[in-house]
Symmetry: C2
């Protein structure tokens, strides 16, 4: 690829033609409440006008000198204190009148975190709250649509990639994992087939320890083994549920 031009050679006219636009990132944050066995969304009570006091995805304008992906990372960190977590781009939303305050194109990201890991003080300072998927309040602008798309994306991705584990603590039980997937797909799944499938994939390490908090018998803890997964992928393995 030949890129001889330096920035000084470039006539300004081409870029001057463009009408620049406010660009925002908004961030879908999924969590799994392991006690209540519910998939949850982290939403903030918007503090700034317009629409102050309404529920909203957390977001920010993209700064002129930061990578787009970094904006999303920053937004997530500013709200939760967390870094190095699962975060991917979802879709851009760009109807010209989607925001009554100005022309804003929003690029939506989605992330998966473990409830409990986030910085509670930060989260409270933003007036944020976890909402059950079935109890999402009215959201500003087109944020409802964003949530709907994010759920679809989560469902599609969780089928073919081992991302469910991002929502669980390092140690989890099979009943917890099952509940998680039932929440993601919003439907019951067959207990025995689910266990069989997961265990046959050879991605989980069974620990000696049991979780006795939910039953007298107790359920064995498992860990997802990322190394094993990477090895398997090299040999052509594809994670796939159902």
């Amino acid at each position: 690829m030949k890129i001889n031009s330096s920035i000084n050679d470039i006539p300004k006219s081409y870029y001057q033609d463009s009408e620049s636009i406010n660009v925002a990132v908004d961030c879908i944050i999924w969590g799994f409440d392991i006690k209540k066995e519910k998939l949850k969304l982290l939403l903030i009570k918007r503090l700034v006008e317009p629409l102050a006091g309404e529920w909203s995805l957390v977001g920010s304008f993209v700064k002129i000198n930061e990578d787009l992906d970094f904006s999303a990372t920053r937004v997530l960190k500013e709200l939760t204190g967390l870094e190095n977590i699962f975060l991917e781009q979802l879709q851009s939303f760009g109807k010209k009148d989607r925001d009554p305050g100005a022309r804003v194109i929003s690029i939506v990201y989605w992330s998966l975190i473990q409830i409990g890991q986030q910085d509670e003080e930060l989260v409270n300072a933003h007036g944020a709250n976890w909402f059950d998927l079935n109890e999402v309040p009215n959201l500003i602008l087109d944020h409802k649509k964003m949530v709907e798309m994010a759920l679809l994306k989560l469902q599609q991705n969780a089928r073919y990639r081992p991302i469910g584990f991002e929502l669980l603590p390092k140690k989890f039980t099979l009943p917890q994992l099952l509940k998680l997937y039932q929440e993601i797909y919003q439907k019951p799944l067959d207990d025995r087939n689910f266990r069989k499938k997961l265990i046959s994939m050879n991605l989980l390490n069974k620990l000696d320890e049991k979780d006795k908090s939910t039953s007298k018998k107790g359920a064995f803890y498992y860990e997802f083994d990322g190394k094993k997964y990477n090895e398997l992928v090299k040999t052509g393995f594809n994670f796939s549920l159902f």
Copy 2:
């Protein structure tokens, strides 16, 4: 959803914080050369500085008063003269230094057209050319990456949605359809299983007419039946190959 605020109530300060950015759309245009049995990409020779003369996806800045999707529609129409064709959003590309001329966030769309339908004069005026997937030239900026992602997206989508037909004329033969999918997946597919699968889906109408251009025996033409497909979807049917 409560949106009492009118645009006049809104303090400007919130939006004044934002640093606005050039936003472009770039468009992946797939076509299938039915004679040569090759999947192709339509690329333009960039006419404007910087990087004039280099190969590029076709694109444009998003205008302040047009919907994002409309920008993509416009770009496609300006190059090909075509409207009402398959066009969906792929991904945004937003590294801060991806364009040496200015901070530009590019939102990439992908489209499927039938080679031959486009307006040749327009296409030539843009210095555009069809390139075999295996003979894509060097492209400006991060356009190569965009093409790679678009191929992945095409592969993923063609598995679960009957979009291959967008690349073929209304009447096509099963050998042509097979060749198309072999090109999309860049690998040979089993002839008999492919036919069986497609025909068993009940989406194709067999015509009486034959295409005699490629063999003495001739191959029967088929048509994709969109109505049948929609009916089937209502009853829970899912298009799925392999």
